[in-house]
């Protein structure tokens, strides 16, 4: 086969079929319908199969991306799935919810002159095929007698549980809610991540021998210390996430009609509030909804509001579209569905109607000033630009903080923001207790949480003295080792020069 070059590959990205914007605002079915076989076979040809790929180190779990794409080109789909599952537990989920443009696709050399290879969509395609075909990679596991407790069934906990179970440990996941999955269940809506996909991935976990105990509030039902001392766990992983929603502290936040995006999403995704009164949980959403913030959670809240029957849905963000932390695709989808964006706008007060409900927002226009510490240009209020904006529901999606329950109930060391302090191996101040995901890093992404979950599993195995049989599958470690005189950690050098 002739070597592929940037000129010889298909120039245009295969289009992802999506549900019609008008139809989809009336249902909770998945918006992005996924590649067909033809799409996938075209798209996989666009990968140059770089000998020293930039995308692998850019992936938080170091998936062998050229490897699995090669398998798709060879039409060995099962082989592609096998390569994916060596590094990721949840290809169907990560292909959907990873911010690929900041990770693998962001460093793809094809992206320098064309659209980068749609790595995420290919990953999702393989993951979906595995679910459809019932593929499952359950390795031979020899029990080693260690008992591992995992607190939280979100992505970090699931990743850690899978690695420990594969190493032969007896793993139990504890979940406080009545359904497993953490943020994948209560946070990410069905039209972005269908419940069947999550259930399939949870079943994969159970097939590894992992037990999942719902309705168990660790910290209050039993503490971390009790797990080690009384319940006989040899090591514990904490992945309780950053679910504590932030509010702005402006006037009127206690009015009815002001809620966090978490509450809106939990009511809809976990409690079935969109089917009220068949389901008992009400939603109480108004007709004109303003969502404050423009991250992924904000996009989810906006799009859920539309589907739940709001007539006009506005996104208020104090910076511009360029600074929005949401995935590009989510902003585009929200726009197509009729969400109206009010960039450079910040609320300064919530006004009431005299009966304890929201009547309007008082807003202020902003302009971008000098870049701040994070490199984003700081929004500066414009004097005299205040105006009233009639809405009946205000949803806060301006970020979340550490969940406080573990900190309240154990002696574990926290930093000043309430996140759990860990060393570089993710070990906490208590020996044998590890932590990962948002409760360590602060609110981040699903894949990053999975990455820390796997890293904690590696440390845990070292702590317990388990030989890490999985390490042979892991992407080659290239930390600090210059390959051909190029420092691979220096992103600009990893790019491949194309003739």
């Amino acid at each position: 086969m002739a070597k592929k070059t940037i000129r010889s590959i298909p120039q245009d990205r295969a289009d992802m079929p999506v549900q019609d914007p008008h139809a989809r605002t009336r249902n909770f079915d998945e918006v992005a319908l996924g590649f067909s076989l033809d799409h996938a076979l075209v798209e996989c040809e666009r990968c140059l199969i770089c000998p020293n790929p930039a995308c692998v180190p850019a992936c938080p779990v170091n998936i062998d991306i050229p490897g699995f794409i090669t398998k798709i080109c060879e039409k060995d789909y099962r082989g592609a799935y096998d390569i994916l599952t060596e590094s990721t537990l949840l290809p169907a989920i990560c292909g959907r919810v990873c911010p690929q443009e900041d990770q693998c696709e962001g460093v793809c050399p094809v992206g320098e002159s064309l659209e980068p290879v749609a790595i995420g969509r290919l990953e999702r395609w393989v993951g979906d095929m595995a679910i459809r075909e019932g593929w499952r990679n359950v390795p031979y596991i020899e029990p080693n007698g260690f008992r591992i407790g995992i607190v939280g069934s979100g992505p970090a906990g699931m990743a850690c549980a899978a690695d420990m179970a594969k190493a032969g440990c007896d793993v139990t996941i504890f979940e406080a809610l009545h359904q497993a999955g953490g943020v994948l269940r209560y946070g990410i809506p069905e039209f972005r991540l269908p419940n069947e996909v999550l259930d399939a991935e949870l079943d994969n976990l159970r097939a590894l021998g992992v037990k999942i105990e719902c309705n168990t509030l660790v910290g209050r039902l039993f503490t971390i210390e009790q797990m080690l001392d009384e319940l006989g766990y040899d090591a514990v992983f904490i992945g309780t996430g950053a679910g504590y929603p932030s509010f702005m502290g402006i006037n009127g936040e206690s009015l009815n009609g002001v809620l966090s995006a978490n509450e809106l999403l939990t009511r809809c995704n976990l409690m079935g509030a969109t089917q009220f009164p068949k389901y008992d949980t009400p939603l109480g959403l108004g007709k004109r909804v303003a969502v404050i913030g423009a991250g992924n959670t904000a996009m989810d809240a906006l799009r859920v509001s539309l589907r739940a029957g709001a007539e006009e849905v506005y996104c208020l963000y104090r910076r511009t579209r360029n600074e929005s932390p949401a995935r590009v695709e989510e902003v585009e989808h929200a726009e197509e569905e009729g969400v109206r964006f009010e960039w450079l706008t910040a609320p300064i007060e919530i006004l009431d109607d005299g009966n304890g409900n929201v009547r309007a927002l008082r807003c202020q226009r902003m302009e971008l000033g000098e870049p701040d510490a994070s490199g984003r240009r700081r929004p500066v209020p414009i004097e005299g630009s205040e105006y009233e904006f009639a809405v009946d529901t205000v949803v806060y999606a301006i970020g979340t903080n550490a969940n406080p329950i573990i900190g309240q109930t154990s002696k574990i060391a926290l930093n000043k923001w309430g996140y759990i302090e860990t060393d570089e191996n993710l070990q906490t101040s208590i020996a044998g207790v590890y932590a990962g995901g948002d409760i360590v890093t602060g609110a981040a992404t699903v894949i990053l949480a999975m990455g820390t979950g796997r890293q904690a599993a590696r440390s845990m195995k070292a702590y317990l003295g388990i030989r890490d049989s999985q390490s042979i599958y892991e992407a080659p470690k290239i930390d600090g080792l210059p390959v051909f005189g190029i420092d691979p950690n220096e992103k600009s050098h990893v790019r491949i020069r194309v003739a």
Binding site: N256, P277, Y279
Partner: protein, 358 residues
């Protein structure tokens, strides 16, 4: 040829036949037939029309019935055998009842002042309920429920000994702070049961305990023996004076404060309006007063923020920062306003459920 519409012959006798719409064939069969008891075609044609009309009406009635059935009769959600078993039920009145639930881990961990979240069935909502009692030896927790809204009335209807609650999770919130020499515990309405484990814990820690409990009338009084066992003085108040003091709990509280000016702490649990009144009663006396907040919440783990309450100009989440707060700092008006948040939805849910039940 004669008009034989709707007619057919069977053993020479003429019959009427009307086709049944596809959606009703499960209940009525493929068609409806009736004999006209005549072998003469002209006679059959003459008496045909009223019979056809009658059969049509039969179909229309079946259709209406099916439609109304669809509208309000969702198939009942089955009992979840993997849930938490109810070991005992006791009815105190036509609205108040007690459930003793098998939950050994919970019973071991529970402390006075904490609450649980209960889900009745898989379509149910998450209902926060204060733990009214726990028995570590039997491995049970006790909940006292007042049937006021849809979920609680459905619990009253469905929960029997041997049935299951879909989920019980907790214990949530900080336990009550102990360590006082003399306390006054006030419970009103649905707050009478939750005050019990607190006064028991205080008594067991050696404190002098005065209890003030309020009911509407004599018939609604419950657990008097349990209260008497664990407190040094018990003041019962009834709205109609049929038992104890004639008046609200604030009257009893006032009397208790007069008799015991050295009381270190007052703990009041009940409806917001009662807790507010208690806070105002104790404020001039300068006694530390603790109330247990019961705002609307979803998850109870600090995730949704629906339960935020204003305490001393700060916003707190009742589920993880509470549920107990200093009564003199709580903004009760804010709490009461926020409890009205789903008033319309609650009415819809209740009407819908009542229609389905009848």
């Amino acid at each position: 040829m004669a008009d034989t519409k709707y007619l057919f012959q069977r053993n020479e006798t003429w019959w009427v036949k009307v086709a049944v719409p596809r959606v009703l064939r499960d209940t009525l069969g493929y068609d409806l037939r009736r004999s006209l008891h005549t072998k003469d075609l002209d006679e059959a044609i003459a008496i045909r029309d009223p019979v056809v009309r009658e059969l049509r009406q039969e179909i229309a009635a079946a259709r209406a019935k099916a439609k109304s059935g669809r509208a309000c009769k969702e198939p009942a959600v089955p009992d979840d055998p993997n849930g938490f078993e109810i070991l005992r039920r006791e009815d105190f009145s036509d609205v108040t009842f007690l459930l003793e639930v098998d939950a050994p881990l919970l019973a071991r961990a529970a402390e006075p002042g904490q609450f649980v979240i209960v889900i009745l069935h898989e379509r149910g909502e998450r209902v926060p309920l204060t733990i009214a009692d726990f028995d570590r030896d039997r491995g049970t927790i006790t909940l006292v429920i007042q049937a006021v809204g849809k979920s609680s009335r459905e619990m009253q209807q469905r929960c029997r000994k041997g049935t299951h609650l879909h989920a019980v999770v907790g214990p949530m919130g900080y336990p009550s702070e102990m360590g006082a020499e003399k306390v006054i515990c006030v419970g009103g309405g649905l707050g009478v049961a939750p005050i019990y484990p607190q006064l028991r814990a205080f008594k067991e820690s050696g404190a002098y305990v005065v209890a003030v409990v309020g009911f509407r009338n004599k018939d609604l009084v419950f657990w008097q023996d349990k209260f008497e066992r664990y407190c040094d003085e018990l003041i019962i108040c009834t709205d109609d004076g049929s038992a104890g003091i004639h008046g609200r709990v604030t009257l009893g509280l006032e009397k208790a404060l007069e008799a015991h000016p050295d009381a270190e702490r007052v703990i009041a649990i009940g409806p917001p309006i009662m807790m507010k009144a208690c806070a105002e009663t104790t404020r001039p006396h300068g006694v530390e007063t603790i109330v247990s907040m019961n705002p609307i919440m979803v998850d109870g783990t600090g995730m949704c923020g629906g339960c935020r309450v204003t305490v001393g100009d700060k916003v707190k989440f009742a589920c993880v920062d509470g549920p107990e707060f200093n009564a003199h700092e709580v903004d009760f008006d804010d709490l009461m306003s926020r409890l009205q948040r789903f008033r319309n939805d609650e009415a819809v849910a209740f009407d819908n459920w009542k229609k389905a039940a009848s």
